[in-house]
């Protein structure tokens, strides 16, 4: 390949990568409505009673997830400032079974459950506080 063709190819690749980066960034942290499904604490391998009475924020993480700690802090803070809302963190690093069962493709993935353990929404990628609170308000878990 000639140097000029190679250079042009690489310019195109850099531009495509930049567009990809922008698209990925925009797609992160969005909440999606999902088909309701009931989840019990035991499904996640955690103690009964870990769920909140108004809502639960279930976070799926792994050890190689750079964004999970900040999401953990955010959700824990949201839970602490909203009565009846709990935050649960599930480490999928060695739990292929759970990753499969809940069809988790990226981390962090957050499921927003209502007081009965029904999943209402799914957030892929690190969410912003406003997104999380909006989802809580949707299911009535945000009122003091």
């Amino acid at each position: 390949m000639s140097p000029s063709v190679a250079a042009l190819t690489l310019v195109a690749i850099v531009l495509a990568a930049a567009l990809l980066g922008v698209a990925l960034r925009r797609a992160q942290g969005r909440a999606r409505r999902i088909e309701r499904s009931a989840i019990a604490p035991s499904d996640l391998g955690i103690d009964a009673g870990a769920f909140g009475e108004r809502a639960t924020l279930v976070q799926f993480s792994t050890e190689v997830c750079a964004r999970c700690p900040q999401t953990r802090r955010l959700l824990a803070d949201v839970a602490s400032t909203h009565p009846g809302v709990r935050h649960v963190d599930v480490d999928l690093t060695r739990r292929l079974d759970l990753a499969r069962r809940f069809r988790v493709m990226q981390t962090p993935t957050v499921l927003v459950l209502d007081g009965t353990g029904e999943a209402h929404a799914r957030i892929g990628g690190a969410p912003r506080r406003a997104t999380v609170v909006a989802e809580l308000e949707r299911i009535g878990g945000a009122h003091a």
Binding site: A7, V22, L24, R25, V64, P69, L92, A99, Q106
Partner: protein, 187 residues
């Protein structure tokens, strides 16, 4: 999760340098023998078929070359250097060069980090970089045309996304690899 951690700007700085290195490596991989055609190199002047370039296996130079000839390529050497740096980053992150450069020359000029991060995600990303470049190098030595520039490009894109957008590779591919059985075996 470790309480202590590393300055998150360190891995991004490293990813920035790595991106530039891989871009240069990709350039040389594209113009080197990974894309060379046999007809041009051996001076054939036979007419091309009217149907246009058939990219059959007989058109590439690489499969006909010896291993030593395949390795004697600037792109190959640069990708090998990149692979060696990835290996260093996996085996001994604290001593890996870009991190050292960052800590000694860049960080003193910056304000302290807002928070520290777990070193495992960046280390995983180094492992992915190593894997991709190693595959490219191996396929190239086996005479597979285009493997080297493709691998260099893939590694570049990953490093670039991390450097420019803070993209977390482990966040996106770890679970996919887990499904394929490559990682995450229960202890």
């Amino acid at each position: 999760m470790p309480e202590q951690g590393i300055d998150p700007r360190g891995p991004r700085f490293a990813a920035g340098i790595t991106s530039v290195l891989l871009l240069i490596a990709a350039f040389f991989a594209f113009i080197g023998n990974a894309t060379a055609r046999a007809a041009l190199t051996f001076g054939w002047t036979a007419d091309q078929p009217a149907s246009g370039d058939g990219l059959g296996p007989s058109d590439w130079w690489l499969p006909r070359a010896t291993v030593a000839e395949r390795a004697a390529d600037t792109g190959f050497v640069l990708v090998a250097v990149a692979a060696a740096l990835f290996l260093w980053g996996v085996a001994s992150p604290r001593t890996a060069p870009w991190g050292v450069v960052f800590r000694r020359f860049v960080r003193p000029r910056l304000s302290p980090p807002a928070e520290l991060e777990d070193p495992r995600p960046p280390r995983f990303a180094q492992g992915v970089g190593l894997f991709v470049t190693a595959i490219g190098l191996a396929l190239h030595l086996l005479g597979v045309p285009l493997a080297l520039p493709i691998a260099a490009t893939a590694a570049f894109v990953a490093a670039f996304l991390n450097a420019a957008f803070g993209f977390c590779l482990g966040c996106q591919i770890y679970l996919g690899l887990q499904r394929l059985g490559l990682v995450g075996r229960t202890a």
